[in-house]
Every structure is written in C-alpha cells, then in structure tokens.
C-alpha cells in the first residue's frame, strides 16, 4: 500500500511540476496560445476562401470550414500530447535536472504516467480555448453533431498518441544534441498521411497505404463522422477500435523501448551530456 502511495505521489510530482512550469513561463504560454489560435484560424479560413475562389459553385464553404476546424483542433490536441510526452527528457536536459529525476526511486511507468496525465489535461484545456475562439469567429452549426461521439473519438485517439510520444521520447535520450528536433519528423510524417486537412484519397497510393498505420487517420475520420455527419456513437466503433488497439500495443512497447534506451544511455554516459 505504501509503495502504491509512493508511486501516486511521484505521479503527482510530475503533474505539479509541469503546472508550476506553465505558471512561471506564462508569457511563453500566451505567445504559444496566440500562435496556435492564429494558425488554426488561418487554416480554417481556407474553407471560406475556397468558396470565394470557386465562385460559390460546388463548394460548400461552411462544410469546408468545419472540416478544417475539426482537422486543426484534433491535430493540435494530438500533437500537443505527443510533444509534452516527448519532452519528458528534453525539458530536463535543458534544465540539467535529468540525473536527479532518473536516480529517484520510482518506476518509469510512474514517471510517464505523471507526464501523460498532465499532457492530456493541458492539451484539452489548450484546445478548448482555441475551440471557443474559433466558434466565436465562425458561424459553426453543430446542431446535428454527435458531440459525445466526437469527444469519445478524441479520447480514444489519445492512447495511441501517448504510446507514440513515449517512443519518441527516446530520441532526446539517445541524441542529446538533436534528439528533440528529431521528434518533429514523426509528427510531420503523421500530418502528411493522416488526412488532417484533406481526405486521404487525394494522396498517392503509397501514402494512402501508410495512412492505415497512423492512429490520427481513424481519430479524424471518426470525429468528422460524428460532428459533420452526426453518426451515432455505436457506428464510430469502426474508427475507435483500430486506434484503441494501436494505443494498447504502443504504450507497453514504448515503455519497453524507453527502458532499453535508458539502459543504453546509462551504459554510454549519455545522461550527463547536456544538449
């Protein structure tokens, strides 16, 4: 029981530390929020722009806006979870505290759980603010949308991105100088093949085949189905199960890979080097 309590306290330690960091770096958070809102709005306005450029014929601007809004919001949420988790190492390398955290008597699962809980809560709140601004600027009609189903899809997609984040977090561990930047490659490839801003059938066949392996593909299809077409929740299962399975596999595999990488870093002395 006391061992379990110890692990709970350690999990909370990471959540509380990250919350304190967000509080202390509030100006940066403000800048990041402004950037994210501007970015999401810019992409969403493409929908209205397409309507104008197409002369209003065969282009449903409102539908396009909602299509792009869903894409940007889901992508912001999932990529934010990914980045918070991959920063589990890079943030500590930057501050120089990595050795103190890794010599603490806690399980790596506890370490990752703390970072993950915070990542999910932070990403939900951050995306929520962007959503509110977007709804205020666009005349979005969600009367036919299945909001519960959309949220369920989003949460089911979180699992697989948590697993990918844990896998991605080994890069800053193994490559102190450039590891953090390498994580951008993973997110860029997922962005390309997942159909964030376009249906995946516009992609060449080879990329369409890769899209099958991206959990974001299913999350986007499912959420769009729920919000644009109002699909009932039970029909969303076809999109939910692949991403759930990916998550169930990716999280333990990610933790195992992280354990191997940590051992390698301890063998080669890579923990000490500050990138």
């Amino acid at each position: 029981m006391s061992a379990l309590l110890h692990e709970f306290r350690a999990t909370y330690a990471f959540m509380e530390r990250n919350a304190n960091l967000v509080k202390r770096y509030w100006t940066w958070e403000l800048v990041w929020m402004t950037y994210s809102i501007a970015n999401s709005l810019s992409v969403s306005y493409i929908g209205l722009g397409m309507e104008r450029l197409g002369g209003g014929q065969n282009v449903d601007g409102r539908y396009l806006v909602l299509y792009l809004v869903i894409g940007t919001l889901i992508w912001r949420y999932l990529s934010m979870i990914f980045y918070w988790i991959t920063e589990v190492i890079s943030i500590e390398r930057w501050e120089g505290t990595i050795e103190y955290t890794l010599m603490a008597p806690i399980r790596r699962l506890t370490h990752m759980a703390g970072q993950t809980f915070f990542a999910v809560v932070y990403s939900l709140l951050f995306t929520g603010v962007i959503l509110m601004v977007t709804v205020a600027l666009f005349d979005i009609d969600l009367s036919q949308a299945n909001l519960f189903g959309g949220t369920a899809m989003l949460i089911s997609g979180s699992l697989s991105f948590i697993g990918l984040g844990v896998m991605g977090s080994i890069l800053p561990l193994l490559f102190p100088e450039r590891g953090a930047q390498m994580t951008h490659v993973i997110i860029a490839l997922l962005l390309l093949v997942s159909g964030v801003y376009y249906p995946i059938d516009v992609l060449p066949p080879i990329l369409q085949k890769l899209a099958v392996f991206s959990p974001a593909t299913y999350v986007l299809d499912g959420t769009r189905g729920a919000l644009l077409q109002g699909l009932p929740t039970r029909e969303l299962w076809q999109y939910a199960w692949p991403t759930l399975i990916m998550g169930i596999i990716a999280i333990p595999v990610g933790l195992w890979i992280f354990g191997q990488a940590e051992r390698y870093a301890k063998r080669t002395g890579k923990l000490h080097r500050n990138g």
Partner: protein, 291 residues
C-alpha cells in the same frame, strides 16, 4: 563495523571500441606520413574515431557505515564517474558495486531509496522557486505535501537562506545559495548515504564553511554515511576519516589523512595531502572547474 558501500574491481570506459571495423580491410590500417598505422594504439583509436577514455580502472574500496570517505583527485581523474556509478546513473562495464548489500545494477530502486547526491552543478528548474523545486524532488521520494513544506522551510533556514528567497525563482539566487538548496534537496529524502560530488567547488569561503558544517552535523547527528569527492586538500583533511587518492581512474593510495601524510618524507615541513598527491602522482591538483 559493516560496510555501507562496497566497490569491487569496477571498470568503466567511454567511447566505442569499433572493433568490428578492424575486420574490414578499408578501416584496418590508415597511412600516416606514408607509414601504415594500426586503427588503434595506446587504448585510443586513430584518425577520426572517438577516443576511448578509461574513466574508472579496476577500482576497489569499501566505505564503512557512518564514515566520511573522501575521494581526492584532479579534474578528469574519474571521481564524478565513480559517484555516478554508485548513484545508478551509469552502468559499470566490469565489477560490482553494493550499497547496504544491494547491487546497483540488479537492484537499482532499492539503492536509490537509500542514497541521494549533490553535484558540483546545482541543477534545478531555474524558473521555479526553491520551494517548488524541493517539493518536486521530495515527492519523488514519497513524501507528502504538508510535511515537505514544513521541512523545506526548516532545512533552508538552517542552511542560512532567508525565508523570502524560498519562494523566489532559483535563477535570482547566487551560486552559493543554489548549492545550499541542492544540499537541502538531498537532505529532504533523509538518505542513509549522501554522495557529495565537489559540493563546495565555486563557493565563497563563508558558504564553503557553512556547507562543511552541515556535512559534519549530518554525519555526527544522523549517522549519515558520506562519500565526498573534492580537489580541496584542506576540506578532505578536515572532514574525511579516510581518503582515497584517484588518478587516471586508478586508486593510487587509500588511508587516513594522518597516515597518508606520514607515508611520505618530510622536506623541512609537515607534509600536506597535496604533498602526498604530488609525491604519488607527480601531478598538480587543479582547483578550477570540474571534469
């Protein structure tokens, strides 16, 4: 008296040997000034290969329970590597290390519960306050919030920090104050063994004396076993019951400061530990930055 730490034949090197390259003719030999040179000589790879550095070379010693044990050596002698090996932050290539009977490789979590470390760099989240940093550190060791806050104030004021600076960002504090917070972080978890890796390097004389007083108090009042690395001869002489002198990854002498000083000839004055070091290694101790 039983042993707190047993280090047995520990060997640690850094850099890749790349022996597999030797099998490929292209990499086997390179020409230097028209002569063929082997890919490897004197334990170091030639050409563009990363050099192999033997940081700890078959080191053995034991630290008794409740002892202050010093490891003296110049920059790059392997002191910090030794501390990291005991702290489970590095894995030895050969040999074993036991902390109160627990093996650092096979039972790292048991070892981690018993130890804490203060290094030469006081590493913290610089935007966070000492209170926020110490709460984070203490929670990792299973302590509860209310208890931590009380103890943080207690320890930091004991170490001479003013109450208002406990809530200010670490980046606004002097190096000496940061180092005191680093010591407080280690004390919070009430370790059985404290690994101090040059804790007073870079501190002003007053801060240095305050830190040394805390080390002595911890050892005398709480029986904490202390492994202290330093290149401050006087610090080792006054604090440590026994001292190991390490050079090039090897222990060249291990005894009480008194016996070590008695082991070398008097040249018209009472020998110091620095004289002992010079006599044994022929090298000057560097008092600047750490390896």
């Amino acid at each position: 008296m039983s042993d707190a730490i047993i280090v047995h034949e520990v060997y640690k090197k850094f850099g890749k040997s790349k022996k597999w390259l030797d099998r490929v003719a292209l990499f086997r030999r390179k020409k230097v000034n028209g002569k063929e040179e082997p890919a490897m000589s004197n334990g170091r790879l030639n050409g563009d290969h990363k050099p192999i550095v033997v940081a700890v070379d078959h080191v053995s010693f034991a630290v008794e329970r409740g002892e202050i044990f010093g490891v003296l050596g110049p920059n790059g002698s392997g002191k910090s590597t030794l501390i990291r090996l005991i702290a489970t932050l590095l894995l030895p290539d050969q040999g074993t290390i036991q902390v109160f009977g627990y093996d650092v490789v096979r039972q790292p979590r048991e070892v981690q519960r018993l130890i804490n470390r203060v290094s030469v760099e006081a590493s913290f989240f610089k935007k966070l306050s000492p209170m926020e940093n110490l709460i984070y550190g203490a929670r990792l060791y299973g302590m509860a919030g209310a208890d931590i806050r009380r103890r943080v104030v207690e320890i930091l004021t004991r170490l001479g920090l003013e109450k208002h600076s406990i809530y200010k960002p670490m980046e606004e504090m002097s190096r000496g104050m940061q180092q005191k917070v680093a010591i407080a972080r280690a004390l919070l978890s009430q370790p059985k063994i404290l690994l101090l890796d040059e804790p007073t390097t870079g501190l002003d004389p007053r801060s240095k004396r305050e830190v040394q007083a805390v080390i002595r108090e911890l050892n005398q009042d709480y029986g904490t076993t202390i492994l202290l690395t330093t290149h401050d001869m006087l610090e080792a002489d006054t604090l440590c019951e026994r001292v190991a002198i390490i050079d090039g990854g090897k222990i060249v002498a291990l005894d009480t400061p008194h016996s070590l000083k008695g082991s070398i000839p008097r040249n018209g004055h009472e020998p110091t530990l620095e004289d002992v070091f010079l006599e044994l290694t022929g090298k000057q101790l560097v008092k600047e930055a750490e390896d």
